[in-house]
């Protein structure tokens, strides 16, 4: 066995190397605020609430804000004349593992000014709660549900916070967290059983269920019953 090959095989057990070697959990050096007009304006309007500003991947400006002021600052970004970040491209989260805080990431785009900004808020593991931004961008509804589903971050004030990707009866936790085992927490048999016990009609409207099958009468007693069942499942 050649030395290179041996190293590679032995390295398998060690797992992937950390991608965040360097300046702490996912942080690069402080960037020059004047390199992005919005960051300069944010510093002027909010001062110390702009915790950190960095540039990633050449021209991706990232701003760290306190988690308890996210709605205030994001509303300013959306509504302040001259900024108008009217398009929320994505809401996601990052878990760096090792007990470090989770980051909630808002990826913004201003259609009028053709510029983007990434806003991050850090949440300690013992307080995974942040205010919802659904009142600002309706698209945040499903995006925040996805973050809740896969990372377990609760969004205060979300109109319909339940799982969106994983099955409704999923009880193994939140799969994209670093401490989640790759194959899940239950045995394959238990996973198969739980999957087959899932009520596949509980999460769909009568219209969705009618696709490819017998059409249901809109407004009929059957449709009303199914709609009622769906509402009953909401927390």
């Amino acid at each position: 066995m050649s030395e290179n090959f041996k190293d590679a095989v032995e390295g398998l057990a060690a797992g992937p190397a950390a991608s965040d070697a360097g300046a702490g959990p996912g942080r690069a050096a402080q960037a020059d605020a004047s390199s992005h007009p919005t960051v300069a304006a944010l510093r002027e309007a909010f001062g110390d609430a702009i915790l950190h500003h960095e540039v990633q991947a050449g021209d991706e400006h990232v701003v760290f804000i306190p988690a308890d002021r996210n709605v205030e600052i994001l509303r300013w970004l959306k509504e302040q004349p001259g900024q108008e970040y009217d398009f929320l491209k994505d809401v996601t989260a990052i878990d760096f593992g090792g007990g470090r805080p989770l980051q909630v990431v808002y990826q913004l785009w201003s259609i009028r000014h053709r510029q983007g900004l990434r806003v991050k808020a850090e949440l300690p593991l013992n307080a995974l709660e942040i205010d919802t931004v659904v009142p600002l961008w309706a698209t945040a509804n499903w995006l925040e549900r996805e973050v809740y589903d896969l990372f377990g971050i609760r969004f205060r004030g979300h109109p319909d916070l339940r799982r969106i990707l994983m099955p409704e009866n999923y009880a193994e936790g939140h799969p994209l967290r670093k401490d989640f085992p790759l194959r899940g927490r239950f045995s394959r048999l238990e996973q198969t059983r739980r999957a087959l016990q899932l009520d596949i009609e509980s999460d769909y409207t009568p219209e969705e269920l009618a696709v490819g099958g017998a059409p249901s009468l809109p407004g009929g007693p059957e449709a009303a019953g199914a709609a009622g069942r769906r509402d009953a499942n909401r927390p």
Binding site: G99, E172, P181, R183, R185, R188, L189
Partner: protein
């Protein structure tokens, strides 16, 4: 062969005394099987890239109309063979099972590709490790994805299987009793879903533990 009638039993229909099928039964079997295997209406359950190869199989170059299969059944009620082309998630498993239960007898299933047959490279929390834990499968087609020729070979194997069936064997047409139960006994499901091949050396401590075992100890919560 005896058609003597009267109170004597008729070996023509019920089979000879030694248990082998009678002349009439085998001729009837031949006719029924001929009719069945020459017009298998597929229920395409395409969930991933295998479905693209399945479409290529149906398209004019390979043309499964040669086997009487050009009529895709968008509804399981008119389908004969379920072709599961692609990976199946646990969330999709009850849907697959419902579709299978909705198909009328006689029915067969082809598991197309590595993911449908065994989970393939997706040995992860969300993926069914072989659809035979969900529905009974007649033919497994290996490949990632299989070429159209591979799928056609699987279809011809299914033809072979159908030609060997007999109407005197009702167990061939047995339905799965409970929709919420796996298609196989518990110990078989456990046995066929254990990590195998490459997946055993991947970065996960072996075995299924409720503790949240991790590769990198420093990723554990403090």
């Amino acid at each position: 062969m005896g058609l003597s009638g009267g109170r004597h039993e008729l070996p023509v229909v019920s089979g000879a005394k030694d248990g082998s099928a009678s002349f009439l039964t085998t001729k009837l079997d031949w006719l029924v099987n001929w009719a069945r295997h020459n017009s298998l209406w597929p229920m395409p359950f395409g969930t991933a890239c295998c479905a693209i190869e399945f479409m290529a199989t149906a398209a004019s170059n390979n043309d499964i109309a040669r086997f009487g299969m050009e009529r895709m059944s968008a509804s399981p009620r008119q389908a004969d063979v379920l072709i599961c082309a692609g990976r199946v998630t646990y969330k999709m498993a009850p849907v697959l099972r419902r579709i299978w239960d909705q198909m009328p007898q006689p029915k067969w299933a082809i598991s197309m590709g590595a993911c449908a047959s065994s989970g393939g490279v997706f040995d992860v929390y969300s993926m069914v490790q072989g659809i035979d834990t969900i529905i009974p499968v007649d033919v497994y087609v290996p490949g990632c994805p299989p070429r159209p020729e591979g799928l056609i070979y699987g279809i011809l194997m299914l033809h072979e299987k159908i030609r060997g069936e007999s109407i005197t064997k009702p167990e061939l047409r047995k339905e799965l009793p409970v929709a919420t139960e796996p298609a196989l006994p518990d110990e078989v499901v456990e046995a066929i879903t254990v990590p195998f091949g490459n997946s055993t050396s991947q970065n996960r401590i072996g075995g299924l533990v409720p503790s949240g075992a991790l590769v990198r100890p420093r990723d554990r919560r403090p």
